[in-house]
């Protein structure tokens, strides 16, 4: 990390740790606004931080690490896409996972699902039935409140002949990239909790961490967390380069695989205490289970990536994997 990124990480890490999974939009959103996080991906001319996706990745990872119960990730992405479209709206922007409906010119009728904190948002960016995405105003929506298994709001919105602004963004892919970055943080945090716990907890006269079976399990977990973090950085770099469809698929798929392995080991080494509401493992693991399904399962992305490489041909598969990150000369 460069100096600016270290400052950003310190700032986000400090605030998110304090807010944690106990934050609410009503009580705590103002502290996010005060720090200017929602302008992270806006140019300095637009009053933003002028950051790129690697910078955003640092913040998204920390949001995951601290199980932050605020739509910071979604608001940062939505602000950037709205600004790119010259669409200036006050208030919290958010993103949606799925759309069912029809677009007639610039009028949308239908349902938008998986809207993070839709109830608190001013506008939402949702996949368009015509490809690309739509910016929709929450003023036009009727809201059915719903949540994922981590109690993060995932609202269902209905629109009838509502004004829609079509944009070119692939919001499903951006959502997938963001979730893989958040998962990277959540896995590291769950690993840290697990390591701390097995070093403290004594059984058979010694800390659990002295048992080889426990050590080997946590080493596997560490490898999965490391892989997810590496994939998250890789996808952020690809987003900064431009075409990132390959990396989004690869990173979300890898994060999903790691979430399956990591959550299981985190709970196993914690024993019963990790299964209580009081102990702070579940805000992480329930998020990881939620995010594993959001914006594409392993099956979805493995098929997409498999079809992509089959389509370009076996003998081009390796080159596709490596040429993409070579410097353009």
């Amino acid at each position: 990390m460069n100096e600016q990124q270290t400052m950003l990480a310190d700032m986000a890490g400090g605030l998110f740790a304090e807010l944690s999974h106990r934050a609410t939009v009503a009580d705590n959103w103002s502290s996010i606004e005060e720090m200017g996080f929602t302008g992270l991906l806006l140019s300095e001319a637009d009053g933003g931080f002028g950051g790129g996706w690697v910078d955003a990745g640092i913040v998204f990872r920390l949001a995951g690490y601290h199980a932050l119960a605020l739509p910071v990730v979604e608001a940062i992405i939505a602000a950037r896409l709205a600004s790119d479209a010259g669409h200036h709206v006050e208030g919290i922007g958010t993103i949606a996972e799925r759309t069912h409906g029809t677009l007639d010119g610039k009028r949308f009728t239908g349902m938008v699902r998986g809207v993070a904190w839709g109830r608190d948002a001013a506008f939402v960016i949702a996949p368009s039935p015509e490809g690309g995405a739509l910016i929709l105003s929450m003023a036009d929506a009727t809201i059915d409140g719903s949540s994922n298994v981590a109690d993060e709001p995932r609202d269902v919105l209905r629109f009838t002949v509502a004004q829609a602004t079509p944009i070119a963004a692939d919001i499903f892919a951006l959502g997938a990239a963001a979730r893989s970055m958040q998962a990277a943080g959540a896995l590291d945090a769950a690993l840290a909790l697990a390591v701390g716990y097995v070093n403290d907890r004594k059984q058979f006269g010694k800390p659990l961490g002295k048992l080889q079976a426990v050590q080997q399990a946590l080493a596997v977990f560490a490898c999965e967390a490391a892989a997810t973090n590496s994939a998250a950085v890789g996808v952020a770099q690809a987003l900064d380069r431009g075409d990132s469809s390959f990396e989004v698929a690869a990173a979300k798929l890898r994060a999903n695989m790691a979430a399956g392995v990591g959550t299981a080991i985190a709970h196993q080494v914690h024993g019963a205490i990790g299964f209580t509401h009081e102990y702070d493992l579940h805000p992480l693991t329930r998020r990881l289970w939620s995010w594993r399904s959001e914006y594409g399962s392993e099956q979805f992305w493995s098929k997409a990536l498999g079809q992509h490489v089959a389509g370009i041909g076996a003998d081009n598969c390796w080159a596709e994997m490596v040429n993409r990150s070579d410097p353009v000369t």
């Binding site: 961490g209 050590q215 946590l218 590496s230 950085v233 990396e247 498999g306």
Partner: protein, 379 residues
């Protein structure tokens, strides 16, 4: 907690051109009809190909020019290696000499040793092997018993090494011997440079389960060596042997040994349209891409002069598990006729048999995970 630190680094500006050079050499030379030889190709020997790579400047790439090297960067070398490995090129003959023997001699060797050995290594003509394991020292490497005793100006070596890959094609061995009588564990060990034509050395093949001859047992009976056979400092053998483990553990060979089978799986998926094979191919590509990010991140940090030992160990454990799982998963998803000459079946058959070694060679999975656990603050 962040177990895997990634620092930004730039790939060399010449990356794309360099890849094309390597791919051209592969197209010219790797036309061998025996598809099985593409699997686990860094343990497949072809001295002709090693010489061709040496001639093209792709062996000893990072070494000083005065010893026949090319003074290319570590990342340029990485690009060449990953291209060779992903294509299944037979790079086994010179692999150890290029990766370990020559760099060790540049770092610790005498001027005379460098002049004698390094140019031949860089030409792809001189091959090396590593004498670490013994009948009673495997994962517990500090129980080395083979002895080196001072005799006048020189040394006399006695003892036995085992599982020595390529001892039978190598001209030289770098080996760990106990140079201080009565010393224990990792104290009192020294590294020696041993020309394998020295009298008193006997090399006997150990045939592996596929019937191939990769490794050997090597016996030392009153083997007399001059004083300068000692590499580096007397008694510092353990530190010297373990200093460059990060390079050995995190290279592209730790996750690409089965990549040729992934390529064939993609071909199978494209030809049949089979959904399960397509999805499996996608999964492998995701894992390989991620491991490459990890392996390159370690290479990038080493190029900056750091030693990310924990990260390197993670790359090896994860990479070995990946390359080992590939043939099993392909067998699970694709109907293979393992008696046929269908390339996917031939590669799967070969890799099913040799892949158990992937999580043994260069440090077993259990040892690596113990190291990762220690890095996490356990133990």
């Amino acid at each position: 907690m962040q177990t895997f630190t990634i620092k930004p680094f730039e790939m060399p500006p010449c990356s794309a051109a360099l890849r094309e050079e390597v791919r051209a050499i592969i197209r010219e030379h790797v036309t061998d009809g025996d598809i099985a030889r593409r699997a686990n190709c860094w343990q497949v020997n072809d001295p002709d190909f090693s010489r061709a790579l040496g001639k093209a400047g792709f062996v000893g790439m990072t070494l000083p020019k005065e010893y026949g090297g090319h003074e290319r960067s570590a990342l340029e070398r990485y690009i060449v290696l990953e291209e060779l490995l992903s294509a299944g090129a037979p790079v086994g003959a010179h692999w150890i000499a290029d990766r370990q023997t020559a760099p060790l001699l540049i770092r610790y060797g005498t001027e005379e040793q460098r002049r004698r050995w390094v140019p031949g290594i860089a030409a792809g003509e001189v091959y090396g092997c590593i004498g670490l394991s013994e009948p009673n020292a495997g994962s517990d490497l500090a129980s080395v018993r083979a002895s080196a005793r001072r005799d006048g100006n020189g040394w006399v070596l006695n003892g036995q090494k085992i599982w020595t890959t390529n001892a039978h094609i190598s001209q030289v061995m770098i080996a760990l011997f106990r140079s201080e009588e009565g010393s224990e564990r990792n104290a009192g060990l020294s590294q020696f440079l041993i020309p394998l034509d020295t009298p008193g050395i006997t090399i006997r093949p150990i045939i592996n389960l596929t019937g191939e001859h990769d490794f050997n047992e090597v016996f030392f009976e009153d083997v007399r060596l001059p004083a300068d056979a000692l590499v580096g400092e007397e008694g510092r053998g353990w530190a010297q042997a373990t200093a460059e483990l990060s390079l050995e553990r995190s290279g592209p060979e730790r996750y690409l040994s089965s990549m040729v089978l992934v390529t064939e799986l993609v071909r199978h998926a494209a030809a049949t349209g089979d959904g399960a094979a397509t999805a499996l191919a996608g999964r492998f590509v995701s894992e390989a891409w991620t491991l490459r990010q990890m392996s390159l991140a370690v290479a990038g940090r080493m190029a900056m002069g750091e030693d990310p030992a924990l990260e390197a160990t993670i790359v090896k454990d994860l990479g070995n598990s990946f390359e080992q799982a590939i043939p099993q998963l392909v067998q699970q998803i694709v109907d293979l006729d393992l008696s046929s000459d269908d390339p996917i079946a031939v590669l799967a058959a070969q890799l099913l048999q040799v892949s158990p070694s992937f999580s043994l060679r260069g440090g077993t999975r259990e040892i690596l995970r113990g190291i990762v656990a220690r890095g996490l603050g356990l133990r």
